[in-house]
Amino acid sequence: MPAPEFAAAAEAIVHNIDQVIEGKTATVRLALAVLLAEGHLLIEDVPGVGKTKLAKALARSIDCSVRRIQFTPDLLPSDVTGVSVYNQETRDFEFKPGAVFANIVVGDEINRASPKTQSALLECMEERQVTVDGVTYPLQRPFMVVATQNPIEMEGTYPLPEAQRDRFTARIAMGYPDAGAELAMLDVHGAEDPLVALQPVTDAETVRGLIATVRDVHVADAVKQYAVNLVNATREAPELRLGASPRATLQLLRTARAVAALEGRDYVLPDDLQALAVPVLAHRLIPTAEAQLSRRTTDAVVADLIHRLPLPTDRQRSPYNTRPATPPRDPRDPSPRGR
């Protein structure tokens, strides 16, 4: 897709969502980048900041199939994936597709469902298919899960299993709107819900084209090396019990491509990786007990790593580097160490 068309299409989506969510352009662009990187989005914030609204606005802006699942404690896996029902007319079992059979699936309050139900999402999020009764059904493209969760109120919730957290490409926080945006919101939302009036500005076909364009964005070797170094650094950081997975590396680079394309570049910068490191990596990491006790969030740890990690270049290393090339070793590492 030529650059002007790409920019126009992307801009149209962002602008459309902006009508519903005021003053959150960066968050909206990140959400769009996740869509273009073929990833899934986890929106985590306190109640009432517009998590669900963002998810719905994103879904509504694209003329594609959208399904919404309200995760409740009594939700069953078959509600998500679908179920085979006996059809008396055909005297056979007939597959009734669940909520995931759509381009965009909005999962509200995902941590209120039991882990049993949440695990139903594992296959479809990673492999974009659903297997029921031994039959595998592929999902449509693009496919994106936009889930919201509330980190404050923990009563009656089930924390997301690590496997599922790793399947979300990025976790974003909405944050409170600033004073001006909140004032404008009162004007706009006072009378009626703008979400109702929101019209799609693009379709699934266009989005597939955008995704193809993003895949073409150039990533220099130095940037790839930087991504690997960054992910490695999370694995070796002494404050983290669990580092990022290779899947995280892939998704980091993919999202970086999308961000670069959204900014009108055909190449990825280390700056893109730095900007994405916290949203893409932080939610997958598990801090050590000591870090938890000292109130170190994984966000802060990743931000620190970015500040410390030297930038690889394809040329000779800078002579002014005074830091060690690799971060300190994990003290829990049980492997024997030579002197």
């Binding site: 897709m1 030529p2 650059a3 002007p4 790409f6 920019a7 364009t213 073409d216 964005v217 150039h218 220099a220 130095a222 940037v223 670069a260 394309a261 009108g264 570049r265 055909d266 190449y267 990825v268 910068l269 280390p270 700056d271 730095q274 970015i306 500040h307 410390r308 990690l309 030297p310 930038l311 270049t313 394809d314 040329r315 800078s318 002579p319 002014y320 580097n321 830091r323 003290p331 024997p336 160490r337 030579g338 002197r339």
Partner: protein
Amino acid sequence: MNQRRQVTLVAAAATLLATAPLATIYETWTWCIDCLFAVGAVCLAALGTRALRSPMWTQLLAMLAALTIMVTWLFGSKGAIAGTIPTGTTLQHFGTLLSSANRDINDYGIPVPDREGLLFLTTASVGLVAILVDLVAAGLRRPALAGFPMLAMYWIPVLVHPDSVSFIPFVVGAVGFLWLLVTDNVDRVRRFGRRFTGEGRDVDLWEPSPLAAAGRRLAVVGVALAILLPLAIPGMTNGLLDRFGAGGDGQGIGPGGNGRGTSVNLFSALSGQLNLKSTHDMLKVTTNDPSPYYLRIGEADRLVEAGFSSQSSRSGKSVTSAPSTAPINLPGVTQKKYQANITVTNNLNMALLPVYSQPTKFQKLDSSWLYDPNSGLVYSNRSSSAGKQYSFEFLHTDYKPEALRSAKPLSQDNPIQRMDTSVPPQPKVDSLVASLTAGKTTPYDKVLALYNYFSADNKFEYSLSTETGTSGSDIVDFLNNKKGYCEQYASALAWMVRAADIPARVAFGFTRGTNRQNDTYTLTNENLHAWTEVYFAGYGWVPFDATPTAGVAGSVSPAWAPDVNHKDPTGSTGTVGAPSSAGPDGSNPQDRKLPEDPAGASAGAHTQHPSAPMWPWYLAGAIVLVVLLLALPGLRRSMIRRNRRPRSAVGTGVRATAGGEIVDSPPGEMRVVEDAGRAEAARADAHTTWDELIDTLVDFDIPVDDAETPRVTVARLADSMLLGAEAADAVRLIGQAEERARYSRIPLPATGLSESLRTVRSAISHRALWRTRLRAVVLPPSVLRRWRGGLVERTSSVTSTVTRSWDRTTRVLSPRRLIPGRATAR
């Protein structure tokens, strides 16, 4: 053992080790025993008071008391209570010992024998050093400071004897000091409790901690510097390298008799024996004086029964100021100015330098050498003559006998008359003098009569040993037996002249010598000589050599004191060569001036300069070297900058302006670069420009962060540095070029990069302080840091290689490997 106690013991041991350099100045090891006692007493006192947990000042008092008691026991039993508690008498005795030590320091060369005064001085000083070391190391817990008193002990032999101090005593002392440091540090670490290496596992006591790698690196660099730096400095090379090849001291035995080691004994004995075992070259003299007189090295004017001894107190001024030698303006005296250049070999090792009479100007001698116009000696309290090379100008004086004859006797209250005419009562000598000088009226005639008495006609002959007599007096024995060498003749004549109430003294030195090549004389220990000097009012000290010329190689007989055995109408002879051969020689004598004369430097013209001084060249060379070294970083920086000029200045189809506006290729559109080579050149240009920008930032002290992307760096520079709009645009352009060169398919062409760089550089430079600007030009930190980084990397790799191989070796050799469960743990 209590740690503090251990440090106390080690401090005492280290002090004893640090005394090792004193071995070079003593002949025997008696001092070592004394020092052992003194240090032991101090150490015991320290241990005792510390065991009682008494405060620091009582520790100090106890140590001082212990040292006093020990020194009293060793040296001052006179009047001491129970032999150990000093009384007033003891202290007086100590004062005597100290003054005798002072005398010994002046009189003896190195190595010195066991003189009680010197031993007392040494023991007391070492004891005081031990107290200091103990207080600093164990009391104040600052063992590094203990190095100062220990170093002071090393200085003593170095100052006294600069050329022959071997490096081994220093190493011994240094080992003691290091031992002290290590003990203290181990103690410090132990006080933390368990040793902990940061990995949470137990360690063996002797396993090095990870920090040791840094220590090893420092140690390697330090040792390398300590070895290489002295080699690099020209003046110090002698000091270090020659030590390894230095042999023993030369043993010179002079005719002066009891030549101790390499020095000449300045005592003119009236009896004795001379041993000439071997011949050594002692000096080389080059002078334009056609017939020089004797070289003086010492004088003796204190007459005792056994002979003349030299006085210890001298009052001289530094030779760097002109000696107060004034010409004698009297008829019958001719004075000519000459130049002499003397090279002393290592065989002559004294605190005195041989010079001709009446020197007027010294060259190539430092201010540690003093000239005493009364005795006419050049001496030093610190330096040694061994290996010295120096030159001086002097006045060669000739006296006509008639002129000397006109000299009147000195008045009785003249200090010279008072001091230099005293003789021990010896009636036989007095009567002989009276009979010889009967009828003579002038001092000169009296002296000449006495001088002529020592002739072959009177049966006087030269002999290497005197014969013993029965008179009980050495001089009477000599006058009876009439056999002796120069000391007896010189002393006897001086005694007799003094008995005639005329001031006289004995001078020591070298005869003219017989080994002559052009203007250069080579003088050996066989040329060592003693002769008489007589004082004439107005003329000063005039030399008379009464020794039979046949016995002395290279002696000179001047006109006023002709050879009594070879009467010559010219009145002047000189013997040259072996004792038997004697030939005429038109030599002219010289003498010295009245010491009372005020400072009046002679205004004679310089006759010649034997060699231009070399130090200006060294200085100029050193300055040039320093300037070159200082200019090196700046030159390197400008070279780097020149190498970084962009090479391609043609675009590849992407237009760039200084404002940073870029007509970009859209995402997803593959742009074919027609000329791959040109793209590469543009990439390289962007990289070099960026590198240059970073180096410039480093030069101007603007922080550089490796974790920063070019975009962030540029934003920081453009937005927060107040560079101005133009420079901000320029830096953005450089940043974009680098960013695209690094990460994009298509680089930005190099149009305007070098101009932008110049703009940025001048903006940064304009903003910087003048100091920073100057440093950026002269000592650019970018170059220095790169060098330092390279050095660190290299030393790290070397030390890690060495450490690895050492570890491998020790692991293979270590017996602990055989203990089960130990080898597998690693």
